[in-house]
């Protein structure tokens, strides 16, 4: 009896973890979609709102411009949908239908884009990204 209860509890916990992961994947993908939609609309501020703090400040340093101006000058996909989504602990991957990918981190304000416009150039090496923190 005790074993059966423990097994049911395990299965429920696994199911709950699975559901939780799917929800978090959707949340991360939504941030990625919002980011690229803002670029399509030419709204630099809205795009920068989706960025991780470290990524935005690195961009400002590199380009010597405010984030909302600098972000519009990068060669990032304008609009698009997420075809592949993965969440592992507090990191996420959003593969866009057009081919490139975004990486996201989960912080106190939810998911934020830490790298965008990423492509796998060399197998088993970090992706090369147009924007990263």
């Amino acid at each position: 009896m005790g074993l059966r209860v423990a097994l049911c509890a395990c299965l429920l916990a696994l199911a709950a973890a699975g559901c939780g992961t799917a929800e978090r994947e959707d949340d991360a993908a939504a941030v990625s979609v919002r980011f690229h939609a803002a670029l399509k609309a030419g709204d630099g501020q809205a795009a920068c709102d989706q960025l991780a703090e470290e990524t935005a400040s690195k961009l400002e340093q590199q380009e010597q411009k405010p984030c909302e101006e600098a972000i519009l000058g990068l060669e990032l996909p304008k609009g698009g949908s997420v075809a592949v989504r993965r969440v592992e602990m507090r990191s996420a991957y959003a593969g866009l239908a057009e081919g490139s990918a975004d990486f996201l981190d989960e912080g106190p304000d939810g998911w934020k884009v830490s790298a965008a416009g990423c492509r796998a150039v060399t197998p088993n090496r970090p992706y090369e990204c147009e924007l990263e923190g």
Binding site: M89, Y93, F103, C118, N124, P126, C129
Partner: protein
């Protein structure tokens, strides 16, 4: 209650030690995890979220699996392998599964033998091997759990470094999985092997894990 504690002191003591140690591991692991988060400028995690994280899961499971493997192997190998002079070993001429008479099963069962020792068939076969089956199942279950939590942790690190994730099957071939596994196995094998040899020559008065202090070094399968 007092009588219960006196008769079950060993299991109660180890249960209390286990709970204290696993609680301490959770608290220390949580503090260590958050120190690392602060160093990387990442947000801290609550204790509740830490104990259900892959970090804590891997740390616990990789130790559990190796402990249960240790006992599974010890139970299995001591059926056939002996160690001259060791109280951990059977007598040298008793290697193997032994006769029904020696094992007190079937017609040789005693009045107070467990019911499954008295019957014939699959029920008895399962009961004859029940210790190995349960310990082995827990070992495989916890090793599987280690592979899943380790895989999550590994993929999270890959995403942090802007790399693609890998599948579970692929992770089983990665050095990360085998390093976590073998670093625990080697310590268990060393400890068990040391115990089998040390107990030939060394004694602990009053412990059933040792031979009686005055027993000769050549006496095998004798417990104090």
């Amino acid at each position: 209650m007092r009588r219960f504690l006196k008769h079950n002191g060993l299991s109660v003591a180890f249960l209390v030690l286990f709970l204290a140690a696993v609680g301490g591991q959770a608290i220390a692991g949580h503090a260590d995890f958050n120190e690392e988060q602060i160093r990387h400028g990442d947000p801290e995690l609550s204790l509740g979220r830490y104990v259900v994280s892959a970090d804590f899961g891997t740390a616990v499971m990789e130790n559990w699996q190796s402990e249960f493997l240790q006992f599974t192997l010890f139970i299995l190998l001591t059926v056939w392998l002996v160690q001259r002079g060791s109280p951990e070993s059977k007598e040298l001429d008793k290697a193997g599964r032994e006769s029904d008479e020696e094992q007190k099963v079937g017609p040789h069962a005693q009045r107070n033998s467990p019911v499954w020792a008295k019957v014939e068939g699959i029920g008895r076969t399962l009961y004859e091997n029940s210790l190995l089956i349960v310990m082995g199942t827990i070992w495989l279950g916890t090793w599987f759990a280690q592979s899943v939590t380790g895989w999550t942790q590994y993929n999270s690190e890959r995403l942090d470094h802007h790399m693609d994730t890998v599948g579970w099957w692929h992770y089983l071939g990665r050095p990360d999985f085998w390093e976590k596994t073998l670093q625990n196995w080697q310590s268990e094998f060393l400890a068990v092997g040391s115990m089998a040899i040390f107990a030939v020559y060394l004694r602990q008065r009053g412990s059933p894990e040792s031979k009686p202090v005055g027993a000769p070094h050549t006496a095998t399968g004798v417990e104090g």
